[in-house]
Symmetry: C2
Subunit: 774 residues, 2 copies
């Protein structure tokens, strides 16, 4: 019985096996298993290939062993392309022999339901029993052109490249090959993960992150099971290697029905938007972007900034590129007079050297391909170069039908004469550390082919070229952010629940003015000096005693929260205990208590009724705003009494702010608690502008979450209003994450509205939903 311990780094063996046993080839060359076997045999792989076939004999000139038991030794890797039941038994036999790695192409497992699910479970059990790690089932194979390894149905016909692909669709590994070849995009490694019953996306991402052959990683994702590990792994990889993902699993229609705004805004698509951002992954919207961007990222140096030179010989593409640059946030600076003076002699007198540099229509391309790039790339004025229309022989091919009867020179001779020497251009990006991205309408062209051959990204349209350049710039920014983020993951965590951190650390009191100090003169106009609830506890005891006036009283909440919806006061007490600024308020049982509370808080106040189980209080007439006097208060009391007799009430300060935000938390299977920031208030769902991050939210992420919103500019200073205090907001975001991590019984949290009072976000209402029976 062989050792049941799996290899510690199975993917390095799966992708670099010294020997492979294949089951599934037959004498019918048009069967998938046969195609894959022949493909492997002819792909240039130099390791040993063994075949299994129940009838034995010879297949494609090789011995076929009838069972695993007959094999002369245990190969590094098994590839199975057999019916599902046979696959299970083969895996067992191979396990017995000591095979430790497998790629299971065979379909008919979990994806077909019923018996298939059971058989997939058997595969996993067998693998565990024998220490096997495997890809699939229901995958389409792997390609490692560096060793001529190709387990897919199509030959890989190109030299090895630097692109790493991990795909949940086999088609996007194999059938895509002609598409990629046309574009000069080359695999370093390509992996179809299939059902990922064992080795999954995260394992592959981790492996390719470490593979020195791989310059950038492209992911095609339909669903993620280990969400938390995925984000953590990607965040590490992306510090040194760009990752681009196309995620198509999530329709908004699939968003869960939910009590909270946070839940209803959190469809998988929006969730993934935030999590990919947090993971440092660029999100592509189309296949074209996925492969165009990752190709550019794998091939070109990462730019230091976003100032682009545009070089072309035609006004339309120059305008298209400049326009696309602006829309993508890239700059096209006017070149300095000094640089323009150097360029001008190289172009027509009326052509522009400003940037875009437009040579205007010309058949003479040497300044285009040599002299001008030599000036542009080393210039301190630009960070990258976009080129449209560089070509040579394509024009001859194009005009040949008209000229063949008039000009008596063989076309091949003319072509040879116009061929450009592009050696300089091809070297410049790497020499200067500045990327070049090109576009061209001519595919069949010596110049275009030369660029493709030398890994200069070449696109069919100007906009695609700019899109890839923008991806390079964004990766540059991401890399910087991740590097700095790693240093201060917890910098912002000033407010922590007592006991959450090691007691020995101690906690510093830092009361920058507590809620109790707030003015109670009835003046509704907030001032810049308004004290904020920035409560930092010095000791657990102090925290408990701190704010008996409002929240956090010792008579507060139990450690284990009761199932159901917490009443608003309890919810805010809980938030306050985690350091989240909440409005001053008091729970009252009688009108007299209400008068007292209003006197302490100071008019204007809000009176709210808190009957059990009402989620939307405003619609139920349970929120009375703008109460300015005892008379007003009494009237409000009576109105609530009419709406919900005898219910407890809350007297709260009337917060005044022009901006209402929402911060919330919801849990997603595989991801755990995710914290949301968005535009709040009564139009939360209508505006539907929110972004999510996994908890715990790193400080750098918490600070920049508003930048992921379409309406992110609302967080800036505007027309006399100060900017939203990002530090306080980030603390609230982190606190909600910690609260969720510490209280796994909480299903959802909504702080809505989080009213921005002169820049300070303060919780005016809160909803906390606790799961039953956890």
């Amino acid at each position: 019985m062989p050792d049941a311990q799996p290899n510690p780094d199975p993917l390095s063996i799966i992708l670099n096996p010294r020997s492979i046993v294949v089951a599934g080839a037959s004498s019918n060359p048009m069967k998938m298993g046969s195609i894959q076997t022949v493909n492997l045999m002819t792909s240039g792989y130099t390791g040993e290939i063994l075949l299994i076939h129940p009838k034995g004999g010879k297949l494609f000139g090789r011995t076929a062993y009838t069972t695993p038991d007959d094999l002369p030794f245990a190969p590094d890797l098994a590839m199975l392309v057999t019916p599902s039941r046979v696959t299970v038994e083969l895996l067992r036999g191979l396990g017995r022999l000591g095979v430790k790695q497998a790629v299971i192409i065979s379909a008919g497992f979990k994806e077909v339901g019923g018996q298939g699910i059971e058989m997939e479970r058997e595969l996993v059990e067998i693998a565990q029993e024998y220490g096997i790690r495997f890809m699939g089932p229901n995958c389409l194979g792997i390609i490692n052109p560096w060793i001529g390894l190709n387990l897919t149905v199509f030959p890989y016909r190109d030299r090895p490249g630097k692109l790493g692909l991990i795909s949940q669709s086999g088609t996007y590994v194999a059938q895509l090959m002609p598409y990629l070849r046309e574009r000069g995009i080359r695999y370093g490694t390509a992996i179809s993960v299939g059902n990922a019953a064992d080795i999954d996306l995260v394992d592959c991402l981790d492996y390719l992150g470490r593979d020195p052959h791989i310059g950038a990683i492209a992911l095609y994702i339909e669903g993620i099971r280990r969400g938390r590990e995925f984000v953590e792994c990607a965040r590490l990889v992306a510090q040194t290697k760009p990752i681009v993902a196309l995620y198509v699993g999530g329709s908004q229609a699939g968003a869960r029905s939910s009590l909270s705004h946070t839940g209803s805004l959190g469809g998988p698509d929006r969730l993934m938007d935030g999590l990919l951002e947090q993971a440092g992954i660029l999100r592509a919207a189309t296949l074209e972007e996925l492969f165009g961007w990752s190709h550019a990222l794998a091939s070109m140096p990462v730019p230091r900034g976003k100032r682009m030179a545009i070089l072309t010989h035609s006004g339309g593409p120059a305008t298209s590129m400049a326009d696309a640059c602006e829309k993508a946030g890239l700059e096209v600076p006017v070149l300095s007079p000094a640089l323009q003076e150097q360029i001008q002699p190289l172009i027509e007198p009326h052509a522009s050297a400003k940037n875009p540099i437009d040579l205007t229509f010309t058949l003479e391309h040497s300044s285009f391909s040599k002299e001008i790039p030599r000036l542009l790339f080393p210039s301190e004025e630009i960070d990258g170069v976009l080129v449209h229309g560089l070509m040579d022989t394509g024009i001859i091919t194009e005009i040949h039908p008209a000229f063949k009867n008039l000009v008596n020179i063989p076309i091949e001779m003319v072509k040879k004469a116009v061929e450009l020497d592009l050696d300089t251009l091809i070297d410049l990006p790497h020499q200067t550390g500045k990327p070049m991205v090109a576009s061209n309408f001519f595919r069949e062209d010596h110049g275009a082919q030369t660029l493709r051959d030398h890994d200069i990204p070449l696109f069919a349209t100007p906009e695609q070229a700019v899109g890839a350049m923008a991806a390079l710039v964004r990766y540059g920014e991401t890399r910087k952010r991740l590097a700095s983020g790693e240093r201060d993951e917890t910098d912002g965590c000033l407010t922590q629940r007592p006991g959450y951190q090691d007691g020995a650390t101690g906690m510093k009191a830092q009361l920058s003015g507590t809620l109790m100090d707030a003015p109670s003169d009835g003046n509704l106009e907030p001032t810049r000096e308004r004290p904020v609830a920035r409560v930092v506890f010095d000791s657990a005891q102090e925290a408990e005693n701190l704010d008996t006036f409002t929240h956090g009283a010792p008579s507060g909440l139990p450690d284990r929260l009761p199932a159901g919806v917490l009443d608003e006061f309890s919810a805010k007490s809980l938030l306050a205990r985690f350091g989240i600024p909440v409005c001053r308020e008091r729970k009252v049982q009688s009108l007299d208590e209400a008068f007292l509370a209003a006197g302490e808080i100071g008019y204007p106040v809000v009176l709210k009724g808190l009957p059990q189980g009402v989620a939307h209080k405003s619609e139920a007439g349970l929120v009375q705003l703008h109460i300015r006097s005892d008379t007003d208060l009494e009237r409000a009391w009576d109105r609530i009494e009419a709406a919900a007799p005898g219910c407890p009430r809350l007297v709260a300060e009337m917060l005044k702010g022009e901006r209402e935000l929402v911060v919330g938390m919801t849990r997603f299977p595989g991801f755990g608690p995710c914290v949301m920031v968005g535009i709040g208030g009564i139009f939360t769902e209508a505006i539907a502008d929110a972004t999510f991050r996994l908890a715990p939210v790193p400080w750098s992420e918490a600070l920049r979450m508003p930048d992921s919103l379409r309406l992110g500019r609302l967080f800036e200073a505007h027309r006399g209003l100060p900017a939203v205090d990002r530090t306080l907001l980030a603390q609230t975001i982190q606190a909600v994450g910690r609260l969720a991590l510490e209280h796994p019984e909480i299903a959802e949290i909504d702080i809505n509205p989080l009213i921005v009072v002169e820049g300070t976000p303060i919780a005016a209402d809160a909803l906390v939903v606790v799961k039953p029976g956890l």
Copy 2:
């Protein structure tokens, strides 16, 4: 001296000339003029071609005339590719001869500034003198493959198609040809308009709109001079022929600095968004979309709805297509059990017949290409079919390198054996009136080539196919809208300024409750019954007398408005006279008058100071809100006195609404007055969500303007709030347009905020800027 009257339809002659004279060819075959001439001579054009060359003699085997005077007759068309000064003199000579049409390729005119501007003016003067209509200068020619006419530098190597192209970039006519050919996109007519000194974009659009060869029109636009005519012309054409435009002229950075929100939001890009919408033109964001969409629109029937069937043999593309459909607003309905039952026997047992129909990996494509389409196309359940991955010989080409040594059959024989018969599939869209759009990663494939040859749009990726299908669906919707819009252009114009319309028509009084009837009980809570300022005048006199309480008093504004910024009260008076609901308010000079006004209006009120020339009153402390008593009012009075001593004041009702909109007007050169609707309030610029339409705004457009906003859902009913009254809003939009048309001296109008009180939009503040010295 020939007749100075130009031909009434010059483009029909320019694109179908019986004879052409060319100036600009020389003995150097690599000069642009020579290339174009040779191209014309070899393009299959059967009309007569005459050449002019100052040295006379022979060129390319033909006689060259030295001057226009030597020509034997006046040809239908002249093409000039000569230095700018020569061009001017040639045009004069040709005019004398009686030539009436010209295509002026020659550059060196307006685009180079200085002398060039002057020479372009000379061209126009000569043309007027001799009745010449011309394209260019600085254009790259025209192509009409239906008669083998090609004046560009590149041969057109394909058969004629149905796509009409009008481009402000010559590159996108000529150099793009290889790009289009690869995609099976064929010109019906292509026009490079160049500087458009005479014949411009609008003329060409009008002509191609009438050309029966043309199925759809693609526009590449960098700027529009005759904006108004452009919109009107397009709106007519788009009723029967789809138009797609790529507009790249407008950077937001170029938005004019302006006093008004409307001006500052109206960069050319956002303006064009609205105007293209109004014109019934689909706006493409990239070249890829421009040509992909217009190709599909030129080739395929327009779908009746948006229910799509997806047919493929692989899960990844099926998911990509379904996801892209959802994002583009297309539906992918689950097929009925009856239809599924018919499909299931044609596919593998575990493959899905639900929709997407996924055959799973297979080399057998006849059900894919024949049986299943025969069931899908006629089905009442779907409006169009998306197909990915239909191919035949491409797979053989792809796997050949692996198999060539193992399978002893010549590859061409294998290819022949797998070739699909696609006749059925190609006919089905036209037979059933339902579009088909396809994608495929294999370009070199018999099946793919067959689709391209038969004008089935075939794209490189699933997302591009869905994008083109979505364009077809949107055009179907546009066509319906334009057809209905034509019927009710003025339906909504209930409120008109007295005297604006023919007096004989009479105007119906229709006071659905005037502002004067509003309750004054100090209750801030609006009710559904709140009377609205829906004032319809019965006679001019009545209108003048109607509302002496607030606006529209006879002591009101003069017919010609004074230059400068109108004070808020005057601005609102003007709006009220055009029937726009404004808040009840009164201009007061003393505190006593203020008390009186507040008594009449009813607390709570707002007090505003109106000093001359202050645009942003809030920041200047000139707006005092929430005044609930005489005491409050006195205090507010004093505060304003402190901020702007002695300034006039306004006492206004305190409108309460959760939504603040902005409606405005600004003028753009070439377009005239444009009306804007957007999200208003103090965050107008930060949110920057606005859409523009040309005035007069057709009723159907006014009604649907909010749908063009990102935050259009804010106009819907939400959480107990009623929907914004679209009818009242549309009346306000139309009224602002009429106001602008009647008062050309008004430069800008802002109604901000237009507060939505229980669904009714009411002007709470207004800014009217009058141009000096008009």
